[in-house]
């Protein structure tokens, strides 16, 4: 199996799809890369030549923040918000939704698993 940009090992899928296993590469970027390098998007990842793989890796690293670089970028942006004490930063700190969504119900992605408060019903009697 070919290795791309360190950890990523795209499998026996079409290269167009396999590239999307890289963090920071979605359908749009994958298509663009293959178009720029004139590689057939239908080729399976295992059938790629070594130089083609090398070309993809260098092209990606040069033109898009990908994997570690992208993760670092995102972290920096979030930390900036946290440091300047703005509303969005406070929401990040508290682990609550940042973009004004309701928190009375749902928002489980941000809040994590439900923390049920026991005996709430008995209290009300």
């Amino acid at each position: 199996m070919p290795r791309l940009l360190g950890v990523d090992i795209p499998n026996e899928k079409r290269i167009e799809i396999a590239l999307q296993y890289i963090y920071g590469v979605g359908p749009a970027v994958a298509k663009k890369v293959l178009k720029e390098l004139a590689i057939n998007p239908g080729v399976h990842a295992k059938d790629l030549k070594d130089d083609e793989i090398a070309n993809i890796a260098t092209y990606l690293e040069k033109n898009f923040p990908v994997e570690g670089a992208l993760r670092r970028l995102t972290m920096q942006n979030v930390n900036r918000l946290k440091e300047i004490y703005c509303y969005r930063g406070l929401r990040h700190r508290r682990g609550l939704p940042v973009r004004g969504q309701r928190t009375r119900s749902n928002s489980r992605t941000r809040k994590g698993p439900r923390k049920t408060v026991a005996n709430k019903k008995i209290l009300r009697k």
């Binding site: 509303y87 969005r88 209290l123």
Partner: protein
């Protein structure tokens, strides 16, 4: 929809005037303001604003990173900040 670029960032006219006057004189007194919607311009860096949050004025010292945000973002309007961790069941007889 985002704001038209031709208009430029929104800053309350009187606020912009005050900052401009202070920059001319070179003083940096705190400015009391209700204009939470005003965008922080690069000229505001280093100034202190007392931004109203509906009840009191909170001190906001503007740093370089804050440019482009609005004054209101730094003056929270809500007080609730989490439940107490103590269990409630003991309180119920």
């Amino acid at each position: 929809m985002s704001r038209s670029i031709t208009k430029g960032p929104f800053v309350h006219p009187s606020l912009a005037k005050k900052v401009a006057a202070m920059n001319k004189k070179g003083v940096k007194d705190p400015i009391q303001t209700w204009s939470r919607a005003s965008v922080i311009l690069p000229e505001f860096v280093g100034h202190t604003f007392n931004v109203h949050n509906g009840r009191t004025f909170l001190k906001v010292y503007v740093t370089e990173d804050m440019v482009g945000h609005r004054l209101g973002e730094f003056s929270p309007t809500r007080t609730f900040r989490g439940h107490s961790t103590k269990k409630v069941e003991e309180a119920a007889p």
